[in-house]
Symmetry: C2
């Protein structure tokens, strides 16, 4: 057995033990992590300074150096997030339903941890603390792979976390394990009998490459090509305000608008207003022929419709109908987040029914699609999957359920044949 | 575009339209299917007779011929199952939660169809009717591939279903499509941008081969290696009764017991009783050395522990403790269904917590793990997946959710910076 296989097996074994640890002990473990990070503040910051020095020497960009930095202020932020996680409702051990199948034979559907979560994240060391805490809170074992440039910081953090949780309860042994190389993570992706879910936190390229190289379910999104459709029944001032926010407020993120669709009935009126607003933020506009008859814009090419710019660039198309808008979004979009601006509730309903995206907005900005804004507490990620968890995913995305059937010697043979007993199927909850 | 791609694209387009069709119309479509099957009874039975004649000529076994048969009695069963499906609660359009993010900005998490379901099933033509009805009920489009020996029957059934539903609402066009060859289904497994879930209904080999050849999520189980652990605190008569039922009542199915684990403290007393009971049903016993010191049994080999016999064969092991039993089950089992017989509630809890299976039974037979017995209504399948849906899966396994955010011009920029508005995150439901 190689080291990665050994780690995966150890994680699986830990995950069985974790299923028995009640919520109050998992919360105590989180508090112990916070205490230990405080206690080892100097050790962690020194480890990070070593990483920063090495990264500086090797010529890492200022942007990446900033992400790599994990100083006292960042530690305080991590502590805050752990404390707020302690207060969140437990997602495991909840009885979803309780059904009497017959006298003395009771079926319970109860939430439980998924098992073993594999996580890969890029530079930011705070991600290690956050994702470990989420997994401990939800009773899952986790195998983490961080950026190699943050090696010393990650090792110091993982050691602090492990020392803290094992002191609370020995069953936490191996609940949090750190992999050190990309090659190790690649091998982890092959352990589909031991790892139950992969969560990649990084670029679209990383997510796509992982989706393409594992049979393990992957929770995430490989693209955020988000649209706003401005209907002919839209309030024009509202449309301009909302579209400006969706494109400009923070263009580098997955829920920013990349394509604007405008109904032909109002294109002549609204496109000049949009162009004026966007020009203030120096947004580069790309339009189809109908757009360019009204405003100045670069010619759009077919690839634009499916491109996530993550930048101050916007592609614009004039459509003949809401149906054409819906079809365009379902064809070129990434099923992440899309919005309609209209004063007609029936058109809003049609759009929200038929646009096949995790979040569908009516008269508000696509930028709201986010776990914090949705009030989910800690965010595990944003998913464009069609099964298990969709859209911004909170802690409940790390839970599943199992059935417990409790009897007193009940056998199936009594319920078949000529004198079969009847099931009661009485809902108890 | 080849035919399979075209069919997948048409299914996807149908799935968007289906999202708009309310529950009462979906129920009307089910009623129309039942009416049409009644109306075309003679056509369908003749088509089946043609299949039966050809299968007989080609030397199909009596068992397979029986499965292939779809006569008046089978049609009546199909009609009954459709009528009971009409009465089942709608799983789509349910508001899971409603949260006010701020005044006039309301987030709804609403259940919706998954989209496009690909189903492959073996000989039984009633599976076509059942799975199509489940998909119509839950608003999903479906692509079906049946056994080639049932070609004429399946075509007659699919035509009847399509004619019925399209007459109720044109939006059902292409909601149910039939693929004709295995090679076509193989190509369907590659359409991961159009097909959202695969449900294989057939042998373990079929399920495993599909899991290994697609990136689309697969709902099912590739094996049912189920255990019963008899603890030293078990009621011995109960243990014998329950184990006999779990092995003998219907050995050919996935939830039958394949391995019996017995605590060493009671092995000497209980094994002779078990052997006596099982001998009545001519069950072949295979045991480890400790078992064979007490009763007559064949020597077990390591492969036995992970073998699904689906037959009157049972492997037996003596264990030192409940912990060893749990470890054995988690190591060699298939995470499907496992049982403990004990009078000690704390051991039952430990077992039900730590055995990582979809169904964990206490003092009752593993054979109860089934959608009908669990009261789920129609059963989509039994899943050993760790995400989305686990254990016996009812209609709710064909639904997911989307977020709808309704505002009146709300923008994210108002909620950041020095004068940021605050989110209320008020639970409305």
């Amino acid at each position: 057995m190689d080291d990665v296989r050994k780690a995966a097996v150890a994680s699986k074994e830990a995950s069985y033990r974790l299923q028995s640890i009640p919520g109050n002990i998992r919360n105590k473990a989180l508090e112990a992590i916070a205490d230990m990070l405080s206690l080892r503040r100097r050790i962690i910051v020194s480890a990070n300074e070593k990483d920063l020095a090495e990264a500086n020497m090797s010529g890492l960009s200022q942007v990446l150096l900033k992400r790599l930095k994990y100083d006292d202020a960042k530690i305080d932020e991590s502590l805050d997030s752990i404390w707020s996680l302690v207060k969140q409702e437990d997602v495991v051990g909840k009885v979803i339903s309780r059904t009497e199948l017959d006298a003395g034979l009771v079926l319970e559907k109860v939430t439980c941890p998924i098992g073993v979560i594999g996580v890969v994240f890029e530079s930011r060391p705070e991600a290690l603390v956050q994702i470990s805490s989420l997994c401990i809170k939800s009773g899952n074992a986790v195998l983490l792979k961080g950026g190699s440039e943050a090696k010393n910081t990650n090792e110091a953090l993982a050691a602090a976390i492990n020392d803290a949780i094992v002191r609370i309860d020995e069953r936490f042994t191996n609940a949090v394990q750190l992999l050190s190389t990309r090659e190790e993570f690649q091998r982890l992706l092959q352990q589909d009998d031991k790892v139950d879910l992969i969560i990649p936190r990084g670029s679209n390229q990383l997510v796509r490459s992982i989706q393409n190289s594992t049979r393990i379910p992957v929770l995430g999104h490989a693209a955020g090509v988000c649209h706003t459709y401005v209907d002919n029944d839209a309030d024009m001032d509202m449309a301009v305000r909302v579209c400006y926010d969706a494109k400009v407020q923070y263009p580098a993120v997955c829920n920013a608008m990349e394509t604007l669709l405008v109904h032909e009935g109002i294109a002549g009126d609204i496109l000049p207003k949009m162009a004026e607003a966007f020009s203030k933020a120096k947004v580069v506009l790309r339009g189809d022929a109908a757009v360019r008859r009204v405003i100045k814009a670069d010619a759009v090419v077919d690839d634009d419709w499916s491109t996530e710019y993550n930048d101050l660039i916007l592609s614009i198309k004039v459509v003949e109908s809401i149906e054409e808008a819906i079809e365009h979004i379902n064809t070129y979009g990434s099923h992440h987040t899309d919005a309609i601006i209209t004063s007609d509730p029936s058109k809003a309903k049609l759009f929200q029914d038929q646009v096949d995206s995790a979040s569908v907005m009516w008269n508000c900005s696509t930028r709201f699609a986010d776990g914090y804004r949705y009030g989910l507490g800690a965010e595990v990620g944003i998913s464009t999957n069609k099964t298990h968890a969709r859209g911004p995913v909170g802690l409940e995305g790390l839970a599943i359920y199992k059935y417990r059937l409790n009897g007193s010697g009940h056998i199936v043979a009594d319920y078949v044949g000529p004198n079969a007993k009847k099931y009661t199927h009485r809902k108890l909850r």
